[in-house]
Amino acid sequence: MALEINDIYVSTREGKEIVKGVSLKIKEGEFHVIMGPNGSGKTTLAKAIMGYPGLKITSGRIMFNGEDITALTPDKRARLGIFLQFQNPIEIEGVGFVNFLRAAKESVSNSTVDMKQLMAEIKTGVGSLSITNGIVGRSLNHGFSGGEKKKAEILQMSVLKPKIALLDEPDSGLDIDAIKVVAENINEVARKEKTGLLVITHYNRILTYMKPEFVHIMSDGRIIAEGKHELIEKLEKEGYDSFLNSKGKPNTTVVNDGKV
């Protein structure tokens, strides 16, 4: 089970190139993290992997289990087991969260959902994620606080049990306790389902509760450094400037545990 991104270039509909040749391979149960300054193309990369129609992959391929999925629509990618946690989840008034989740579960599992079991899963998730205002009876993300939206995304992930999860800033907007709760829940799903994780984050805090095996630093649409946890420590101490030369271009690519 693996998601492979082979040297992809991604442009907006207007033709602006955002991702400029990124390659990644995420295997079952692996934990990757992408860090990078604002505007470096992290979210665009995640959306392109999920098949956002407003983006165009101008070169390169996305493979899932050896199959080329570059041209697949988002729903087909979801049915293969790819999940995207949105940085800013969309609010949809009138569509009940539980009914939506049932429809989503039926789509990705291609089977009828046992509502009793689903409700039990939701109840467990709500408790585990400390969602105080509940989810049942509310519209999808409508009127949710920032924290509730993030937690609701992780709840969806735990119910849908994806093979590969792309988590776009699961920690932004969360308080200290909530970051820990969310991290623990992600860990739990990944452990149980052997989900391959690609987490996009700006901050080290969530990573104190999670142990990424692979760290990628992204800048200006490219991965400029790759390594292990030590790379995060270097980043924490020296900032992104340490990976860039005086002209703002990346230094020599860092490999092997963050050592040049």
Binding site: M50, G51, Y52, P53, G54, T73, P74, D75, R77, A78, R79, F83, L84, F86, P89, I90, I92, E93, G94, V95, G96, N99, F100, A103, A104, E106, S107, V108, G137, S139, L140, Q156, L160
Partner: protein, 401 residues
């Protein structure tokens, strides 16, 4: 002059014409089997009054009723060309009379195998309740017409829910004029679903005439292919402490087009009143078109009144979000449209009708088809919105009240 409904119902039904009766009965059967709705009365364009009903045919003659119209300030031929047309050409009048304190629930099927031109008079007595559902269907083999006038008087403390489902076929042109006068402390829920027909033209006047009279009008338009809808509704606050809420929504696909014109008329003698005109539209196709024109005339300063309007293409990010969870494009559109209409659905209290309307919408969004009777299903349709919530609550001006 007024005919009790029960007595009238025994004497009216499918026409004597053999083919007509077959078509009417087949649609009744479809509605019963697929949607669970059993129309008590079928009215079709070729209706014949049987011998036993002849006295009623005379009693209900439009010319004999015209004096009553005037005394009740109802529609006259001067009101519009459509009204004049119906007065001249209607073959029968259906009069529904709920006595004071009475309660009635009634399902009507209007079938235009031939052009249907008719009038429906509704009189709801003091403290009476009426739940009226009308289904407009057709089995026409050539270009046809449905042309109907509704005239309703709601006396004090009465409570009425009127639901109209327009699901005629693509050969049918429809024209409707309705006028409802609401008395002291009486309440009206008026829900219209426009799904079928080649071209539908509507003019509604809903008048809160009595003290503290309330009206809540909900219009749902679901268009496809080259359908056209011209919906023109005026809500009037004509007495103190009256409330009028008009909510019109449209979801247009293919090359369909819709004009929504809602107008609130708050008169000088209506202090303490509230009025809201709310129009929303989603465009599901590049060729679809919708104009929404809310308007107001306010002649008293001690009122709460506001209007809003928005029409936009279906949100690409919302579609992506839903598709990223496994919904196909059609399913995602369905989810968005059902969410868009969910608050409107919630106002229909008849469960079978709610399910029927949901099925029509599902059929429309998935296939663009209309005019037939789909199998009932609520799958993917939700009515989560609180039916008792006021649309004032959602308006920034009145959020804290």
């Amino acid at each position: 002059m007024s005919i009790p409904f029960d007595e009238f119902a025994k004497r009216i039904g499918p026409g004597n014409d053999e083919s007509g009766e077959t078509e009417a009965e087949s649609l009744r059967k479809e509605l019963k089997e697929k949607l669970g709705i059993l129309p008590e009365i079928t009215i079709n364009g070729s209706i014949r009054i049987s011998d036993a009903a002849k006295p009623f045919a005379r009693a209900l003659d439009v010319r004999e009723l015209s004096e009553e119209y005037l005394s009740r300030k109802m529609l006259s031929s001067k009101d519009s060309k459509h009204v004049a047309f119906v007065h001249v050409h209607s073959k029968e009048i259906l009069q529904i009379d709920v006595p004071p304190g009475g309660s009635a629930e009634l399902n009507l099927l209007f079938l235009n195998m031939e052009p249907l031109v008719t009038q429906v008079l509704i009189n709801v007595g003091k403290g009476a309740k009426l739940n009226l559902s009308e289904w407009y269907g057709s089995k026409s083999t050539k270009r046809s017409l449905v042309s109907v006038i509704h005239e309703a008087t709601l006396h004090e403390y009465s409570n009425v829910e009127m639901n109209m489902v327009h699901n005629t076929d693509s050969r049918t042109y429809a024209a409707f004029t309705s006028r409802v006068v609401i008395g002291d402390n009486a309440k009206l829920e008026f829900n219209s679903i426009y799904d079928g027909g080649a071209l539908t033209k509507v003019k509604n006047d809903i008048i809160a005439e009595g003290y503290a009279a309330k009206s809540r009008i909900t219009e749902m338009v679901i268009g496809s292919s080259t359908q056209g809808f011209d919906i023109n509704t005026v809500v009037v606050n004509a007495n103190r402490d009256t409330v009028s809420e008009l909510e019109s929504k449209g979801a247009m696909s293919d090359g369909s087009r819709c004009l929504l014109k809602g107008f609130a008329d708050i008169r000088e003698n209506a202090p303490g009143s509230m009025s809201f005109v709310h129009e929303r539209g989603i465009l599901l196709g590049k060729e679809a078109h919708m104009d929404s024109i809310p308007g107001m005339s306010i002649k008293n300063s001690d009122v709460k009144a506001t209007h809003s309007s928005a029409v936009a293409p279906v949100d690409e990010d919302s579609l992506f979000y839903l598709m990223s969870r496994g919904a196909s494009m059609a399913e995602a559109r369905m989810l968005l449209v059902s969410g868009f209409f969910s608050g409107s659905f919630a106002k229909i209290t008849n469960p079978a009708l709610k399910e029927a309307v949901a099925s029509l919408m599902r059929e429309k969004i998935y296939t663009g088809a209309f005019g037939s009777v789909p199998k009932a299903t609520m799958s993917g349709i939700w009515t989560d919105a609180d039916p008792d919530s006021s649309i004032f609550k959602g308006h920034y001006k009145y959020k804290d009240e």
